[in-house]
Symmetry: D2
Subunit: 338 residues, 4 copies
C-alpha cells in the first residue's frame, strides 16, 4: 500500500503514519518528492484493512492499494489457463461451449423437446431454471424440485449435462442431487453465504457477474468459492447496469479480454440477458466468440411467445439453428472449434 | 399496457395483436394516429408478463407498461403515510430517528460503550453487525451469534432497541431471538428467499437499497415483505453505484422525495456507507434531514482508527455529539423534532 | 403521446387534460381502464413539447412519448441502409472499412510513415488529430493548421483519404479545406452549434457517441446534421462511461445491432478509446466486426511509447498488421470483405 | 507517480522502467516489497503523460498517479475559500445566493414580470436563457441577442444582476456586452475552446458540471478558465447521469462537501435540472443548503404550464415564495444567511 501525504504535511505527520504502519505489521519506506511525500508500506503480513484507516491521520491525502485483493483467481499466481470439466464438456480449452435452453423449466414436454432441439443444433449443455429469482413476488417463481426432476429427465433423454440456478444456501444439497453444474445468478454475486456453500460442494459453478459488479469484485467473488476448495469456476458476463435503456443491460464485452488478462479462469457470455431482446442475440453472440469468450449461455424456448418468463429474449429453435451455423464460422475465424 | 405499432403496420398486424391480447385476458382498444396506431390493453386480470411478448409480433414497435408493478407499497393505494413502531421508536412520524453504532460488533466493551455514548448524544436505536457480508473472504466476517448476544447486552444496559443485519435465510430465526428490527443489506435487496422469510417474521425490517437498484425495484422488493403479511418496513437510501469515485457510493438524495411521493412507507438515509469517509457524513446527514428523511443510520465507533471494518467512514463519539446538535437545528428548520 | 391518469383521477381531471390537449393541437382519445384511464393524444401537428407539461395537471400520473424524436435518421422512415462515400471509400456497403492512424499528428515524418504503414496493412483511410480536446489545459493540444497540412501531405503520398476532428465551429471552414471527412469527438456530441455548421458543410461527418449519450440521443444528434441537408453521416461507438474502471470506457457493443435496427446510417467502432489499453484492442476489434459494424477506427503510432497523447491505447505497426489479418478472417465469417 | 511491477518482474524489467523514468525527467526510487516491487517517480518537471506509457513496459502491472491534475483550483494550493463577486452579489461568503428565473427568455413581459417576482421573494440574481442548447433540432432554440436585450431590460427594471448561458465561442463577445456572469451549461463542460475564451473574458463564470463529469474532471475544467487569468469561477452541481430514471438526473449532493474539501471555489446547486420535476425542487433545495452549498439556481416561470422549455421543472412564483421562506430557516440552521 502507498500512503500519499498532503502538500505541506509535517514531519510529525510522517512520523505518525510510520509509527502506525509498524504497529500494523508493515515496514514503511518514505519517498521524498518535490511537492509531496509518499510512504510505501511493505509486508504481506501487515493488516491491510486497518491500514486504509491511515486516511484519517493528520497530513494524509489518501491511501492507494497496490496488491490485488484476489489471489487464487489471479493469473499472476497461476499463469496457465484453467480448464473446467463438466461431465466431459470442457470450458477454457480449444472448443467453444454453447449452453442453451429455456429461462424456466415449465413442463416435461417443454424441457425435453427443447433439449433435443438444442442438442441437434450443437449445444453441449442444457440450461433451465427451477428456482427463479423474480423482481416481482407476483411473477412465476419456478417449479422447484419438480423442475430439477424434469431437467434430469431431459438429461437422461439427450445425454446433455445440465446447469441450473441455486438461489438459497439451504437448497444447495437439493440442487446438488440433480445438477451437473450450479449456476449463481447476477443477483447473488455477493450472496456470500451461498458462495461459501458452493465452495464446499463438489460440483462446478457457473458464476454470473452482478449488474453493478466491477471486474475486480467479480474475481473477488470467485475467491469465496476457490478458497473453500472448489476450483471449478466458470465466469459469465451477462451485462451491467448503465444509463442506456435500449437494451436490458449493457453487455460489457471488454470483460472477456480483461478477465483473460487478469485471471486463469474460463469465461462465457450470456447474450440473452444482456440484450433483453432476441433480435440482438445473434449479433452479441458472434461478438462474444470473436472477443475470445470460451462459450455462450443462450436462451432457447420452443415457443418464445408463450414462455412463462423472459420470452422476449429467447430464440426459437429455428433461430438457434441459424445462430449455431453462424457461430461456427466465427469460432473458426478466431482459431476455436465448436 | 400500451402496444405501439410501427409506422406502416398492416391491418393484419393490428388484428394479430388484438387477438392475442384477448387470449391473454385483455380488452384491446385501438387509437388510430396520424403516423402510427397504438393499442391499449384494458383489464386488471390480463396476463401482463406474457403481454410483453407482443413486442415480438409483426408490426409492433414496442410495449409500454402503464400500471405500477408494486401495489401494497404504493401511495396510490394507501394515501396516508405509514408509521413503523420499533419498541416505541416511531419511524415516519413527527420525530427524526437517529440509529447509531459501529459497523461490526467487536467486543462487549466496545458495543456497550458505544451504546452508552450514542444514547447520551440522543440516538434512539443501536445498530451493529454480527453477520457481515464482505467483498473479500479474507476480511473479518463478524462474530455471529456471539455478536447478537453482545447487542442484547448493550440493549439491556441502555434500553436502546437494536437493529442488526441478517444475510442468510437460515439465520432468520436465530436473529429474531435477539433483534428488535431486521436489517437487509444492499447486497441482499434481491435475495428474494430472505425477503420472503422476513415477510413471515413478526418484527420490523429496515431494507437497504441495492447499489444498482432503481427506486421502482426498491419498492418492488418491499412488496415481497409486505405481501407476506409484514407491513412494518422502513426503507433506507445508502448510495448507488455511479461513475463517480470521490465517494464510496453516490448518495441519491432525490430518493427521499421520490419515495415519499410514490409510497407511504418511511425512509431513512445512511450517510456513512454513501460517503465512505467520515469527513462527508455531517454534510450528508444534514442534507438528508432537510430533504425530508425520517431518520438516519450513522456509523459511530469508540475508536474508528482501530475499527475492524469500515473505520474510515465512522464518526468518533465526539464527532457524533457535534453532529446531533447540528441535526437538531436542521430538523426544527424543516418542522420535525429529534 | 399517452397521458396516464392517476388511480382515482376525477372526471374534471380528465376534462382538463382533454381541453388542454385540444388547445395544443391534438385530438384526445380516452381509454377507460379498470384501474385507471389513459388519454391518447393524436395528431402530428400537436405541440409535443408543451404536451409534456400535462404531467403537472391535476390527476395526471405521467406522460409517455410514443413517437421517436428523430425522423431523418430512422429506419422507419428510410428502410434501406445508407452508404456514405468518402472519396470512393464506402461505409455501410459490403466492405469493412478500417481507418487507422495516430491520436495526434506530431510531425511530417511521423504522419507520413504511419500512413504508409497502415496503408500497407490494408487500412482504407488515415486518421490523425490536429485539434485535440484535452481534459487538462496543461496537456498537448495539437498542432492546429500545421497538423492539417501534414495530414494532407500524408494523403498526397499514400492516396488515403483523411478524417480529422474539428472542435470549434469557427474552425469548420479551415478544416474543410484539408480534410475528406470531419470527425466530431465524444465531448462535442451535444455541441449543437458545431453540428449545425457541419450540417451545412459539404463533406461527410464521422460522429462519435458521447460518454453518457443514449442511443436515442445519439440518433437525435445526427438529426442536427441531417436536417441541415448533409446526409453523409457515419456513427461511431467508442465506449460509454460506467462504474467499471478496468477499461477507459465501456464499449457498448450492443450499440451496433441497436443502431442497425433503428437507423439506416452506417456505424463503425473505435476500440482504442473504449479500451484505453492496446492489449484489449484486438479482442474488441474482432467483436465489433462480428457484431456487424461497418468499420473500425484504430489508433496506430510508429512508436506508441513515445506518443504525445493516448500512447497507451495505440498499436504499433506490427501489431496492426497482425490485427488486420485476424480481422479479415472474422469479416469473411460474417459475410463481409476487407 | 508510482509504477507497480508485476509479481515475478525481473531485474531487467526494473532497470528498463528506471532508465525510461530518468529519460522523462524523473528520479526513480524503488521500494522492494515481499510480493512485488514498486517504483516511485519523483520530480515535478517529469513528463507525466509519457510516464503513463510505462504501463506498456515489460514487467509493469500498472501506473498510479499521485499528484492531483488540477493546481489553481486546489485547496492544497490555496487554503482559504474564494469569494466571487458579481456586481456586489458574493458567492462563497456568509450569505446563500439564490439565482432564479425561467429556463428561456420568451418575451419582455415574461422576463420582466418574473424578475420582479423573484426579486420580491428574495432572489439576488436573475437567470434566463437566450441561447438554448436543445437535444432536438426541432425544439425552441432561444431568442438569441433579442433575449439578451430583454434580460438587460429586466436588470434595468429590478437591479438584479443577470447570468445567461453562452454555447458557442463566437458568441462570447456578444454575450459579454449584456451579461454580468457567463453560464457554461452541462453539455459544454469539455468545450475547451469555449472555456479558454471565457478564461480570457473579464466577467465571472458559472460552470455547470457535465452529466458524466467526475468531480476531478470538473475541477480540471475550471483549470482551463483559471489558467487563462480569470479567477472568478463558481461551480454548479446539477445532477449526473445514472441508471435511475425517476428523476431527470441524479443530484450528486456529495459533490458539495467534496468540492469544499478539494477546492477553494464556491459551489451552488441547480435542483431544477437535477429533479426534472417541480415537485422535488423544494426538497432538493433544502438538502443543498443543508449540505453546505453557497447558493442555488432555481427555475421559476410565471406560468410553468405554458413555458417554451423545461416547464415541468419550473416553480411558479407562489411556489418560489414558499420555498424561499423554507430555505431561510434551513440556512439559519446551518449558520448561513439569505
Amino acid at each position: 500500500m502507498i500512503v500519499v501525504m498532503k502538500i505541506g504535511a509535517t514531519k510529525d505527520d510522517m512520523d505518525g503514519v510510520c509509527k502506525r504502519a509498524e504497529e500494523l505489521g508493515f515496514t514503511p519506506h518514505i519517498i521524498y518528492g518535490k511537492e509531496r511525500n509518499v510512504v510505501g508500506l511493505v509486508g504481506v503480513m501487515g493488516n491491510r484493512e486497518e491500514a486504509l484507516m491511515l486516511e484519517n491521520y493528520s497530513g494524509v491525502d489518501k491511501v492507494v492499494k497496490i496488491s490485488k485483493p484476489y489471489k487464487l483467481a489471479s493469473r499472476e499466481v497461476k499463469q496457465d489457463s484453467s480448464v473446467v470439466d463438466v461431465c466431459g464438456v470442457r470450458f477454457g480449452g480449444r472448443d467453444i461451449v454453447v449452453i442453451a435452453g429455456p429461462c424456466s423449466v415449465e413442463s416435461e414436454k417443454q424441457i425435453v423437446m427443447v433439449a433435443e432441439q438444442v442438442k441437434a443444433a450443437g449445444a453441449k449443455m442444457l440450461r433451465g431454471g427451477a428456482f427463479k429469482p423474480r423482481t416481482s413476488p407476483y411473477a412465476f417463481q419456478g417449479l422447484g424440485e419438480e423442475g430439477l426432476k424434469l431437467l434430469a429427465k431431459a438429461r437422461e433423454v439427450t445425454g446433455l449435462p445440465i446447469v441450473t440456478e441455486v438461489v438459497n444456501p439451504v437448497d444447495v444439497d437439493l440442487v446438488y442431487k440433480y445438477t451437473d453444474m450450479f449456476q449463481v445468478g447476477a443477483r447473488n454475486i455477493q450472496n456470500f453465504a451461498l458462495l461459501t456453500f458452493l465452495g464446499q460442494a463438489k460440483k462446478p459453478v457457473l458464476l454470473k457477474r452482478g449488474m453493478s459488479t466491477t471486474i475486480d469484485e467479480f474475481l473477488m467473488a470467485t475467491e469465496y468459492i476457490l478458497s473453500e476448495g472448489n476450483r471449478d469456476v466458470v465466469l459469465c458476463e451477462r451485462g451491467i447496469r448503465t444509463f442506456e435503456t435500449s437494451t436490458r443491460n449493457t453487455l460489457d464485452i471488454s470483460c472477456v479480454p480483461v478477465v483473460k488478462a487478469k485471471s486463469h479462469l474460463p469465461i462465457v457470455v450470456d447474450p440473452s440477458h444482456a440484450a433483453g431482446h432476441w433480435g440482438y442475440v445473434s449479433s452479441l453472440s458472434k461478438a462474444a466468440i470473436a472477443a475470445g469468450a470460451d462459450g455462450l449461455l443462450v436462451e432457447v424456448h420452443p415457443e418464445p411467445e408463450k414462455a412463462m418468463s423472459d420470452g422476449a429474449q429467447s430464440l426459437n429453435p429455428n433461430q438457434f439453428i441459424t445462430l449455431m451455423g453462424e457461430l461456427r464460422a466465427v469460432a473458426i475465424a478466431v482459431g476455436r472449434y465448436m
